[in-house]
């Protein structure tokens, strides 16, 4: 014990000494820390390539890329200790917290060519008319269908013009034995498209009023839960799976509603599956899907704001976005013209993910709504297990949302 203590002390001192030794290039170069989470090996390699290209174009800037596990916790600790990285990933759901805490710099004019991004994505990262950070890439939710199972059931493949009735009818026809028609995770973001398709919403446009207690919300909930009750849809855990993509890959569900991430996961784990992708079916109020997106935030407390913005702009600018597109991994670049390139690399069969951007809703709630999400998820799960009624789920969630807004 004592020996290990001494060892720790010596190591700490040694590290401290070495950390202070200035690098030979320190005189004329600036080091920018970029913190993110690790994605697929292909995506990490592409990012490193982009950074190498950036460093070549800007010889005075050194980029220190840190892809960390437990990203949320690590970043939060870095902020709290006042030692934040210069540039960092920001998930859309987390932006309100960072803005509220005052740790993220407002982008505004620093962001190059904002018109080139998908407008819905710019909208996601805009709070109180301030565009905070340039979007890195995004995923939308679409409907995946198993071609073999459709053929076996003698059904025609889904189209972009599908409606709720088409979905339930097909799910019913596809359910047999161990296989259900559709996998429905008991999670708010998976259900939200149905709410929007029904014409409902959680909060009013300005975010000051709870509009969740509505007929539309009830309709959407009854559709989602009704399919489970009828046995034509099931949550992943009922299908011996950890998530929807796994249930779809193992053939336990004939259809799934996942985002772009499903492409890579299926390719890697279930390479033999033949599947197609179409837009989510339309509800009474038309089409809707969700966009999940991440941006490059720049720290408010920053020694090198200009260099930081240079990096963020390079990675999200036309050049960077095209590099993302050409690498062709799961997520789509946030720029409209680069999305075309992505489709060429990836294949036209994934078009539904790109076209979904036109009617995608943001995955973002005001500060403090984590409790609302937890409550709704729990209620949805209980309702799927038959322990709660749809109206009780709605009632509980509305009460929580109103409690949060009242604070």
């Amino acid at each position: 014990m004592k020996r290990s203590l001494a060892l720790v002390l010596v190591l700490t001192l040694a590290l401290a000494v070495f950390a202070r030794v200035p690098s030979s290039r320190a005189q004329d170069t600036v080091t920018i820390q970029l913190m993110g989470w690790s994605s697929s090996p292909a995506e990490n390699a592409a990012l490193e390539e982009m950074i190498a290209a950036f460093e070549e174009a800007n010889p005075t800037i050194d980029v220190d890329l840190q892809l960390v596990p437990e990203y949320d916790t690590t970043l939060q600790a870095a902020f709290a200790s006042g030692d934040a990285p210069n540039v960092f990933y920001v998930d859309s759901s987390r932006l309100p917290d960072f803005v509220d805490a005052g740790v993220i710099a407002a982008g505004g004019d620093m962001i190059v060519d904002p018109e080139g991004f998908f407008p819905s994505l710019v909208d996601v990262f805009t709070i109180d008319d301030t565009f905070y950070c340039p979007p890195k890439d995004f995923s939308t939710m679409a409907l995946q269908y198993n071609k073999a199972l459709f053929d076996a059931a003698g059904l025609e493949y889904p189209t972009n013009d599908w409606t709720w009735d088409d979905l339930t009818a097909a799910a019913e026809a596809l359910t047999s034995g161990d296989t259900v028609g559709l996998v429905v995770p008991p999670e708010l973001p998976r259900w939200l498209p149905f709410l929007y398709q029904a014409g409902g919403s959680v909060l009013s446009e300005d975010g000051t009023e709870v509009t969740f207690d509505s007929e539309e919300a009830m309709t959407a909930l009854e559709l989602y839960l009704g399919m489970v009750e009828d046995g034509i849809a099931a949550p992943p855990s009922e299908l011996d799976s950890g998530w929807g993509g796994e249930a779809f890959g193992t053939g336990r569900a004939a259809m799934a509603m996942e985002g772009n991430w499903v492409i890579g996961a299926l390719e890697e784990n279930y390479p033999d599956i033949e599947y197609g992708v179409v837009e989510l079916p339309a509800g009474p109020a038309g089409e809707a899907t969700m966009a999940f997106t991440v941006c490059y935030g720049v720290a408010a407390d920053n020694d090198h704001p200009e260099e930081s913005w240079a990096l963020a702009n390079f990675l999200t600018g036309p050049e960077g976005a095209t590099m993302v597109a050409e690498a062709g991994f799961g997520v789509m670049p946030a720029r409209q013209d680069a999305a075309e390139v992505w489709l060429e690399t990836r294949g036209i069969e994934f078009e539904a993910f790109v076209t979904g951007a036109a009617n995608a809703h943001r995955w973002q709630f005001p500060v403090g709504f984590g409790d609302f999400i937890d409550t709704f998820n729990n209620g949805l799960k209980e309702a799927m297990a038959g322990n709660m009624l749809p109206e009780e789920v709605l009632e509980d969630s509305v009460a929580i949302a109103e409690e949060i807004l009242a604070e």
Binding site: F79, S93, V103, D371, K381
Partner: protein
């Protein structure tokens, strides 16, 4: 936890203090040297334990979000005992979630601590038998779960207990009719007692209004419906992984019991059960106290298995609630530290109570 009146200090005759007037400087030097030797450990203790602890107490009275740098002037405001009120007395979502976590954790502790202590004791006695062949192998096998990563074990358990998993297949082998209503262990929020009552057709609606009344944000029925099925799985998992460590502690204590005690008991005509009950168990009492204390503290703080297996409110424990309040969307470090403080007080009270009941004067560890 040092006894004020340990039997040893009483039995040793006190030596009158020697008068050392000329050696004051030597004594001072000795003191300095003593602290110098202590310094490395003390510094680490203060920096990584005392300071964070004091800070955590302070933060629990603020509204710090856990993101804004603490050195910023507007990083937080002191809000008195607001956080504690929201958790304990004020009706609302925070109170409901906190008491859901308390309920789950309490059932967890009540279920796991006695079970793991008892099984570890029995296992230790068995692998301590001289007639047992390959004792080393058995000891190793029993200890293996304790040194395996809890994350890996959690994931393996998820596979074993999934609806189509091995556990269900085994039960179906014994009861062929089970297949139609197989339990989804990994994701079932039904309380265990509630589940049993349901088999006899009793539900919340049948027993009267008292079951639907809310106390501390939870219905009486929810309070008494027991740990959820998923929680039961986590309890089994954790019992299984902890037994090994506790067994080793018991084993060490068993080997300290001199053989003549057993011989004397045998000559007096005690049978195996009597020897176990009247000799082994009483002599192990200090160790049992230690094991139960360890178990209590560990169980109240259960985190990683729950974090991996998930399961929402049905498996929410206090330690997980602390984490969920502190990090991620809507982080609220003030609330999280307040939750942690209450957890600390709960553990403290239980340890003291436990010491009253099990510790006695023999608790000299």
């Amino acid at each position: 936890m040092i006894d004020e009146k340990s039997p040893i200090s009483e039995s040793v005759p006190t030596i009158p203090p020697q008068k050392v007037t000329t050696m004051r400087t030597t004594k001072f030097e000795e003191t300095v040297a003593g602290y110098l030797f202590l310094a490395p450990a003390l510094i680490i203790f203060v920096v990584f334990l005392v300071i964070p602890l004091v800070m955590a107490v302070y933060i629990s009275f603020t509204d710090w979000n856990g993101i804004t740098p603490l050195r910023d002037d507007d990083a937080f405001e002191t809000i008195g005992d607001d956080n504690y009120q929201q958790l304990l007395t004020q009706e609302g979502r925070r109170q409901t979630r906190f008491f859901t976590a308390v309920k789950n954790t309490t059932y967890y502790v009540i279920g796991v601590v006695p079970t793991q202590t008892l099984i570890a004791l029995i296992l230790a006695v068995i692998v301590n038998q001289k007639w047992l062949k390959a004792r080393g192998t058995f000891r190793t096998i029993a200890y293996l779960p304790s040194i395996t990563s809890s994350v890996v074990i959690s994931i393996v358990f998820l596979w074993l207990f999934s609806r189509g998993g091995l556990v269900n297949a085994f039960i179906e082998l014994l009861y062929p009719s089970y297949g139609d209503k197989a339990i989804n262990w990994t994701d079932d929020s039904t309380g265990v007692f509630h589940w049993v009552l349901k088999q006899f057709g009793v539900t919340r609606a049948d027993v009267g209004d008292w079951a639907s009344e809310k106390h501390y944000g939870l219905r009486t029925w929810d309070w008494i419906s027991g740990p959820s099925v998923t929680m039961l799985m986590i309890m089994i998992l954790n019992t299984w992984t902890t037994i090994g460590t506790l067994m080793v502690i018991f084993l060490a204590a068993l080997q300290n019991i001199p053989s003549y005690v057993y011989e004397a008991a045998a000559i007096d005509g005690a049978n195996i059960w009597q020897i176990f009950r009247k000799v082994t168990v009483p002599l192990l009492r200090p160790t049992t106290f230690f094991v139960i204390t360890l178990g209590l503290i560990g169980c109240f703080q259960v985190f990683d298995q729950v974090y991996i297996i998930g399961g929402g409110d049905a498996t929410l424990t206090v330690a997980v609630l602390v984490y969920r309040n502190a990090f991620g969307t809507g982080s609220n470090m003030g609330l999280a530290t307040a939750t942690a403080m209450i957890l600390f007080v709960i553990i403290f009270i239980f340890t003291v109570l436990q010491r009253r009941f099990f510790g006695g004067e023999r608790a000299n560890w």
